[in-house]
Symmetry: C2
Subunit: 218 residues, 2 copies
Amino acid sequence: MKYTLYNYWRSSSSWRVRIALEHKRLAYTYVGVPLLEGAQRRDDYAAMNPMRQVPTLVVTDDGGAQHELAQSLAIIEYLDETHPTPPLLPRDPIARARVRQLAEIVNSGIQPHQNTGTLAALAKLGQDGPAWARAFITDGLAAMEAIARRTAGRFLVGDELSIADVCLIPQLFGARRFGADLTNVPTLLRVEEACNALEAFRRAHADVQPDAAAPQQS
Amino acid sequence: MKYTLYNYWRSSSSWRVRIALEHKRLAYTYVGVPLLEGAQRRDDYAAMNPMRQVPTLVVTDDGGAQHELAQSLAIIEYLDETHPTPPLLPRDPIARARVRQLAEIVNSGIQPHQNTGTLAALAKLGQDGPAWARAFITDGLAAMEAIARRTAGRFLVGDELSIADVCLIPQLFGARRFGADLTNVPTLLRVEEACNALEAFRRAHADVQPDAAAPQQS
């Protein structure tokens, strides 16, 4: 199998897939898709990803056939099923459901309200995009904190890294970018520290990707 | 195991879980949560579901312990793992990824932009909620149609029912409710017909739930 990841340094859904690839120690080719130039809307990209979003993971199998996969959680579940060690889901069904619940709070509860397409649509209406994003981020992280207080060990669900943690870290980056208040989510911040100590998270971080803007431009 | 589903007749994410329960032939207790009265924001409900959304599935195990699960796809994956027959995911890893990709186009790409909380937030800003929802529905369904033209058999991915179909049917109901144009998604409409012929989909339909409004009120 060969992997090519079409993605964008600061995109949180791209970042999740990078963490999963690094955690599984899977080599991949990085292709930057410059969202601010609208590259995701070009026909050649849309043919791979009809939602015109990042990321897209192109999987080339040993026979040379190519499969273009999109939607970050679908990609991560695929990677976890095809490379189960080290795992990104616990074994117990209730614990697995809790991991996916937390992941979906980010994936469907927060991120759709702060992504490039939504911010562009708000701008067209003359609305304050960052304020819109901040409200959903604040509510979503508060819900995650309430759950994590009961489920967290070293990571969000117990002591093993999971897809929930993979979603949390890029979301906290987004929270700071949009100016959300993080004083009421100490459990999430403690888990963030544990994640940041891991090599996979350092290698997947937005700021170290080849298409990352210099600090003053971001 | 005993199941209690806190949900709302017209909520598309509630409806998905109902289809999954019916497909697996699992009996459950139906508890209506009147969203228009704000019942999902009450403290007793928020203690079960800190996102203050429907659905919540309360699983009572044989020892009497209760587990409150939320986020529709997390719940459906849990039901599929604990009751694998009849399945809601294919066996092939690429096909599973395709099913989850299609499900996430609905779950994170469309539905967050049309749900009760988002429409309320738009109304506060004096914005046209149905127009906002319609734009995301139109783009998302077009992307699903493009994928389905390559993957669909009787259902969205091949000839077996999957989580992708479970997400499609309530989303098409939402599309009509918000006045989206469906002339360019013939593959989706053909799959809808195949789903509507199934007993599970008839039993899970919004209009036949105990809390459904009379037609003139909906």
